[in-house]
Symmetry: D2
Subunit: 144 residues, 4 copies
């Protein structure tokens, strides 16, 4: 599954104060990149979600920092869904250098659907699951 | 009026990534300090505001950066209201070094009361004005 | 001078966590936008500065918040130099909505050249002054 | 080992703009808390490191978000070293509510010693290992 291409890529704008005193993008900033790309992915792939009724919250994040990023680099973040469970789905995201292609950091996050009306977790709506599988071009549902 | 003491002082915790590649706290971070101290001031001095109905928004900010702050410094932010108009009030805030007493940055901000129900500006409730003047120990209303 | 067009415009990427609990971009984030656009301006207009020897530091910032920005807006920041003194220059920057053209926030900042070797302020190198005036298409030097 | 108490606890100051539009501390901000507490841990436990020669960089981060944090909460971050390898060590950190004791988020990070002179990874100096084990009160070296 690792070989599957990423269809969703968002260029990331590095801000002056993303860079810490070591002269590279601070590790905490990568999560702002992932968060921003993740939000765009959901908006692009599942545009019809009513955000006044449901939220998608992160319950687990795991990141491998492969190489540093300097302030003048041109970077982007690519995102794809890896697998879909009953109540959650897992994203794989990679921040990479646009010029060299070098992968800078790899992140997996587990996202949970949350019902804002009942304040509890909920089953992923079938409509979202279908939108994601259609977009990714593969059936990502976990087998029972 | 400049001589009046500040009654409201909040220690500020410097975060690792507040410091930019020049090795000092980035200028944009000072506004996070001011915002945080300002919020505490309002909560402390006007505790009965119903935040579901009104908001206090910033319309003007002016800051003088006097001296830099290094990551290991111990700093605090002091806040006082300078003057109160019909719909707005002006805050003076200073970030200073707790050990040396040195003032690092001085900020003035003009805050506006905003009615979330009608989505328009509103007169400052007399109750807030009185709470602020009582706390500051001086009548800060601008004369007509 | 207000009528002079801005030649330098940088699209700004809004991050998910730029938006605070009021649902709009937090006031402190605008200064990250200004900082980022300012850095690009200097790199574009004065590309030959040796940053190991000199720094450009902000000593005064003044911002007027005209209208709020929601998370889905498409915005940009335009920057121009307003005037050039002996040791400092003043920038005017505007964050605006790319689609409606509406100005969201206007900022003036006074920037100072700083000699990293002697740790003191310095005269603005004539080379920078000429680069800026050539780029802006007007002589911005303050008359004595 | 899970039962071992945390000796290192740092209160965390929540900033106004830590809270996102969902009204809780944004997930990316937790990593700023972890980074800040981690820096204090190293300064407290290994005070004699010469930071012009070595750096400690994060290569892996893993976080479980257990419960949300609202802006008015009083929180702290506790940190301990879990295990020490030849070139890296693993931290466990927990952000928790000071009043209720509730754990909000658990983080593990793998930190690597980096020689700034040779620009390569290095063995953890025996002096650091001893300082950490003495502070934690237990031998944390991984057995071969």
């Amino acid at each position: 599954m690792e070989e599957r291409a990423f269809k969703h890529v968002v260029p990331m704008q590095i801000r002056f104060n993303d860079v810490d005193k070591f002269g590279h993008v601070n590790n905490t900033i990568y999560f702002q990149y992932y968060d921003t790309a993740k939000t765009e992915y959901i908006f692009d792939v599942c545009p019809d979600i009513d955000w006044t009724k449901v939220a998608i919250i992160v319950v687990h994040i795991e990141a491998d920092f492969v190489a540093q990023i300097v302030g003048q680099a041109r970077i982007a973040c690519r995102t794809r869904v890896e697998k879909i469970g009953h109540k959650s789905f897992t994203l794989r995201q990679e921040v990479f250098d646009v010029d060299s292609g070098e992968v800078k950091c790899i992140c997996h996050s587990v996202m949970l659907a949350f019902d804002l009306t009942t304040h509890s977790t909920m089953l992923l709506p079938e409509e979202w699951v279908e939108s994601i599988c259609r977009y990714e071009g593969v059936d990502l549902r976990e087998k029972a």
